[in-house]
């Protein structure tokens, strides 16, 4: 989608980049440039005028000659007068950091793990030669992701079993719409026929996936999917917690409507949870860094989860 407003630095950056492209590949239409750079035609024109209006007024030197009449007709053509500028500057440190970290992140996703184009790119853009290490070798997730990617692109429904966060298994038919990666967790966003609503499904909890040949409905195609993964369910319960700073992320893993304050070196605030059973696992994972203060039923739900985990159903090998 074309962005309408950009700030001075970004416009400067765009002007430098247009110089590079036009001097390399020749004249372009403003509409082509708009499409290529992802800005509106109006912004492209502004950037082109930036290039044109760069005279050295002290020495009466023109840096670029621009054909104004052509620009009015939507064509961008200029030639170098006394300018030494032919390309944009190389990437800044922060640009490299931002792109390299983004590529690091993508490389950590199962389906891109062995992508040769990505590997080459990371050597070019990043200065990192080491690969990101994955905790799990195994390609179940990569295979699931490849099937889901195909289903989303072909706009066909999928059938699967889904294990929800309470461990309950059910059969689902889903119109798949988008694949979201949020840090290490991966989600399918789609219209669930059973719930008649847009839902988020953790990819690792999808079992026995089958891509059907049934096209998804026009209604599903028109759905807007919110950026946030968590839904707003009517049954949500507000739970007051206190966390060590190391566990600050608990406040951004759940919707939180209260202010988080710092008290005696700990963060105190409220999070909104869908089910008490699920709360148990999310608090227990921090092994004591997060504590539920109230309500009492939330406190006991966490205790019960941790107590059960202390006596795992899976017996030790050396048990008599």
């Amino acid at each position: 989608m074309p962005k309408q407003e950009i700030d001075g630095e970004e416009l400067f950056n765009l002007a430098l980049s247009i110089v590079g492209l036009v001097l390399k590949n020749g004249p372009h239409n403003t509409s082509e440039l708009a499409e290529h750079f992802g800005f509106s035609e109006q912004t492209i024109k502004k950037a082109v005028l930036t290039i044109a209006n760069s005279e050295d007024v002290g020495n009466f030197k023109t840096h670029f000659y621009l054909d104004d009449e052509l620009l009015d007709d939507g064509e961008v053509d200029f030639s170098v007068a006394e300018s030494m500028l032919t390309e944009p500057p190389v990437l800044s440190k922060r640009q490299v950091t931002a792109l390299a970290a983004g590529l690091d992140y993508i490389a950590s996703l199962a389906q891109f793990a062995n992508n040769p184009a990505l590997k080459e790119l990371r050597e070019l853009v990043g200065d990192s030669t080491t690969s990101v290490v994955r905790k799990v070798a195994g390609n179940r997730e990569a295979e699931l992701m490849a099937q889901l990617q195909r289903a989303v692109m072909n706009q066909v429904a999928i059938e699967c079993e889904y294990v929800n966060q309470l461990g309950e298994r059910s059969t689902r038919t889903i119109d798949p719409l988008r694949l979201d990666f949020v840090l290490e967790k991966h989600y399918l966003r789609g219209f669930c026929h059973k719930n008649q609503a847009v839902r988020s499904f953790r990819i690792d909890r999808i079992v026995n996936l089958r891509v059907t040949a049934n096209p998804i409905s026009e209604d599903s195609k028109a759905l807007e999917i919110p950026l946030e993964v968590f839904g707003t369910e009517s049954t949500e319960l507000s739970v007051k917690i206190s966390a060590e700073p190391e566990a600050a992320q608990i406040f951004w893993n759940f919707p939180s409507y209260s202010q988080v304050i710092t008290k005696d070196g700990r963060l105190v605030g409220e999070i909104s949870v869908g089910s008490l059973q699920a709360l148990g696992r999310h608090i227990t994972r921090y092994g004591g860094l997060v504590k539920v203060i109230e309500p009492p039923e939330a406190v006991s739900a966490v205790r019960e989860f941790a107590q059960a985990a202390l006596a795992p159903e899976i017996a030790p090998e050396n048990e008599d």
């Binding site: 030494m84 032919t86 990101v132 202390l310």
Partner: protein, 312 residues
């Protein structure tokens, strides 16, 4: 002529500096050449020029100031753009597929400081003229979240080359104040990691364990050479490879599916940090059991016991 916009001012300044003689330009020459400066009052243009110098540097234009012997103080400083600022690697070519990956990487950012940098970097690479030829990656929406309070100040300190200090608490230890020359932020195993020099030695710090505000100290940071950084990264990767845990999984449980549904219901993992792995495992409750190492099993036991007693 109409007043120059900030973008026009930066662009003209860049052109003038690039066209400058080997000794660069004096401030007065710059003020005479760039229309926006010529049109402004002394005070206003001093401020503008200061701002523009830092903008150029932020954008990766290496603006240098050299001191020369001069009678007048005004002409004692000369400005020029360092060689290399505009030198792209020869034969740099990106394939349409690589371009798609870069777009995905830029789109992943969800941080108000880094998202614009990733986008502007992408714009610059688009000057190479490659057109992505397919939409197959458009079904993905990656979100790279950097909400740690320490993230923005560290990113700023790195791009400005400044020292930082913060209080850091390692697992099982008390917090201590660290003085660091920050080098690089990386995302490893779902964690943001700062690579920095402490007393000249390259070390890794988990952003999660920075328990105070990050102070930018206004001291120039020592910058490590790329070879040392690559070596430190290789050492971390090797360290992770050597830390191995074996986990037994309950068949058909959520944990079993999560870890790839292994036929023998056992999975071998490598990890960067035992305490962080313990968190990932404790979440599965009764679904799994640590076979080895014992320190991990004990850590999980202690963690669960603490949760029980905290919620008694």
């Amino acid at each position: 002529m109409a007043k120059q916009s900030p973008a026009q001012r930066l662009f003209t300044l860049t052109c003038c500096l690039l066209a400058a003689p080997r000794l660069g330009l004096s401030k007065q020459e710059i003020y005479d050449s760039v229309q926006a400066y010529a049109d402004s009052s002394d005070d206003a243009r001093e401020k503008m020029f200061e701002r523009d110098k830092s903008s150029l540097r932020e954008m990766g234009v290496a603006l240098e100031v050299i001191e020369v012997d001069a009678f007048e103080e005004q002409s004692a400083h000369r400005y020029l753009i360092a060689k290399g600022s505009f030198d792209w690697p020869k034969d740099l070519e990106l394939s349409p597929e690589q371009f798609q990956l870069l777009e995905l990487a830029a789109r992943a950012w969800n941080n108000r400081l880094m998202a614009p940098s990733a986008q502007s970097g992408l714009t610059r690479l688009k000057a190479l003229g490659v057109v992505p030829n397919s939409r197959e990656l458009s079904v993905f929406t990656p979100r790279l979240i950097a909400r740690h309070q320490s993230f923005d100040p560290l990113a700023i300190a790195i791009s400005q080359g400044q020292q930082v200090s913060f209080s850091y608490r390692k697992a099982d230890a008390d917090a201590s104040v660290r003085l660091i020359d920050p080098q690089k932020l990386r995302f490893i195993e779902g964690q943001w990691v700062l690579l920095g020099l402490e007393n000249g030695e390259l070390k890794n710090f988990l952003l999660r364990r920075i328990v105070s505000e990050v102070k930018i100290l206004g001291q120039v940071a020592q910058i490590s050479d790329p070879a040392s950084i690559a070596q430190a990264e290789a050492e971390l990767a090797k360290f992770i490879d050597q830390q191995v845990a074996v986990i037994a999984l309950r068949t058909e449980s959520e944990a079993w599916w999560h870890f790839g549904a292994p036929a023998d219901s056992e999975v071998t993992l490598t990890f960067m940090d035992e305490a962080l792995l313990a968190e990932d495992l404790m979440e599965f409750g009764t679904d799994l059991r640590v076979v080895s190492p014992k320190s991990l099993a004990d850590r999980i036991l202690r963690g669960l016991e603490r949760v029980v007693s905290d919620h008694a």
